[in-house]
Symmetry: C2
Subunit: 79 residues, 2 copies
Amino acid sequence: MKARVIVTLKAGVLDPQGKAIEGALRSLGVEGVAGVRQGKVFDVELDAADRAEAEAQLKAACEKLLANLVIENFAIEIA
Amino acid sequence: MKARVIVTLKAGVLDPQGKAIEGALRSLGVEGVAGVRQGKVFDVELDAADRAEAEAQLKAACEKLLANLVIENFAIEIA
C-alpha cells in the first residue's frame, strides 16, 4: 500500500528557509511570489492489511520520527 | 492564491536519506514499513490573476530553483 505523509510547519513558526527561497525566486525573476513555506514529504510503501492499519502505522511513524509535533503538523494521504 | 509544489526524486535515483528513515522507523518499532522516499514540499502564496498565470509562475519557479530536473520530478497543485 502506498501512502504520502506531508509535514509542514505550524502557523506562526518562523521559516527562514522559506524566506530565503522567496528572496531567491524574486532575484531569479519569478514574479508574483508573495510567500513560501517549506515542508517535507515522505512517500511510504507499507505492508498493511487495510487502510485503518496503514493509518495507525503512519500515525505512529509521524509521532515517533517524521514530525516534531511541537512545531510541525502532519497530514496522511493513503493511495 | 495558494499553491503547493511537491518535489520528489525520480524513480531509480538512490535515496539514502529515505533508507535511513526506513531503518530508523524499524528500530523504533514501527511495523510494516517496506520503503520510504523523502521529498520536499513548498507552500507558495501567489499574486496571480488566474490559475493559468499561477501555473506558469510555479513552473518557472520549479525549473529555475525548486527542483533539479535531472534527478527530481515536480507536481503543482493550485488550491
